[in-house]
Amino acid sequence: MKKFYMSTSPHVFSRDSVKKVMWNVNLALLPAAVWAILRFGMDAFISMLVAITAAVLAEWLFAKLFKQKIRLWDGSAFLTGLLMSMTLPPGMPIIFLIVGAFFAIGFGKAVFGGLGYNPFNPALIGRAFLAASWPVAVITWKEPTVGALSSISAEAAGTLASTIPVEAVDTITSATPLGALGQAFSLNTQGVIDGAQLDAVTGALSSKESILDLFLGNIGGSLGEISALLLLLGGLYLLWKKIITWHIPVVYILTVGLLSWVFGGKGLMDGSFLFSIFAGGVFLGAFFMATDLVTSPMYSNGKMIYAFLAGVLVVMIRRYGGYPEGVCYSILIMNAFVPIIDRFTKPKPFGYVKEVSK
């Protein structure tokens, strides 16, 4: 007699799978990654290649070591590697990338039982580990090899050169735009440049040209933070594919923008909204890191709380903290709060709230 298949209901399924989700995220990152390679050349390509290979290898190794299911090609390790390399500047020493990828996969993920159980975003853990281990390497920016634009638009640099001391210009223009802003503020507090000169810097940075450069990606910085436009495209793709929901990116970006506008400048309501959201990988964080399915809250109101607090942290760290960008740590810190947020945002089941009475 023929044997039939048996299972509980339901008997039909959507066509989603973990593999599809992960590769879709990778796909969404592709434009930004390609742009980074175009801008930084081989360095960027090698960075990505090494990080991805190391991550996939680490996945295999740790799965063997901890006797877990080996899931090499479902794209999750690939994504971790790619994301990690995109948070780092081009031209990182290869060995650092390998160590970072192994740490990210091994102790960011595998040690908790593999995909789905990690409380922290492994790619960011990898980055934070590298930042803690070799702090200098992580902020050693490289000029883009292709295209003639420096970290801030040439015009802005010209304005700066005419108003502030040369040595200050050098330190400012060689960094990323955000780094430049941070340095300008610290130079101001040190008394190297005065208030008017600070205004010139901030003015130059948040000028239309500069912001357009930021948006289009004509800047220096880490691989993934240079083109807000392409990241936005990728993010919209994810939204369209329903892999992420709007809650986290929208709330996160708005919070960062608004708070930067209020607190980011010299006085209140003096910062630049657009500058703050286009610079420093906010889009990368908003669409690809904070929304990481495993490490973000489960419920929509929780997602909004999470994104809001992360946004607050970004501005806090940028404005008052020791790091110029803050996206990485804001998300990591909020990752630690996710179980608590989940605990308090569980909605009441249908029938427990009297929504409409007769």
Binding site: L65, F66, K67, Q68, F107, G108, A110, V111, F112, G113, G114, G116, Y117, P119, F120, I125, A128, F129, A131, A132, L313, M316, I317, Y320, G321, G322, Y323, G326, C328, Y329, S330, L332, I333, N335, A336, F337, P339, I340, D342, R343
Partner: protein, 200 residues
Amino acid sequence: MDFGRLFVIAISAIFVNNFVLARFLGICPYLGVSKKWDSALGMGIAVIFVMTLASFITWIVQHFLLAPPSGKYDLTDILQTIAFILTIAALVQFVEIVMKKAMPDLYKALGIYLPLITTNCAILGVTLLNIKNDYNLIESIVFGISAGVGFTLALLMMASIRERLESAKVPKVFKGIAIALIVAALMSLSFTGFSGLIAE
């Protein structure tokens, strides 16, 4: 009174120099009492309570007994450790006795955590730091409260993550304290993001 300074002290104690994650104080209860949310919460509240009281009383002991304002003698070096630990031990016991009688409900909820606090180095740490940093009475109390809040925060985060990890397939050798330490490491790594937030 300088509210700005108090705010800085509080932020510093809660986030930047979190007692557990940055200073390594109170690790034993941090790892021991973070298996369940409920006990973590109870422990946390008890710690906040005792830390605040201890900050207050040891400040008085320091400034009126060990090194009185008259400046006639200064016993800080010789007696501080003994005096403070005795004070804390007595305080905890006193609170326990009073609570048991006067607030039996609260005692049921928190009482079991009280003895554990005597040997919690975070408490002694707070009181010693109060003196070391030359805080005045108000600042000491604020520092005590915020250190407790910071401790509680770390404890609650740990507890909620560990509850989630209950269902995770953590490798056998890492089960229990080892994985908790790894979580603490990653948490501490995240909290390095706060570094430089407040120059101390």
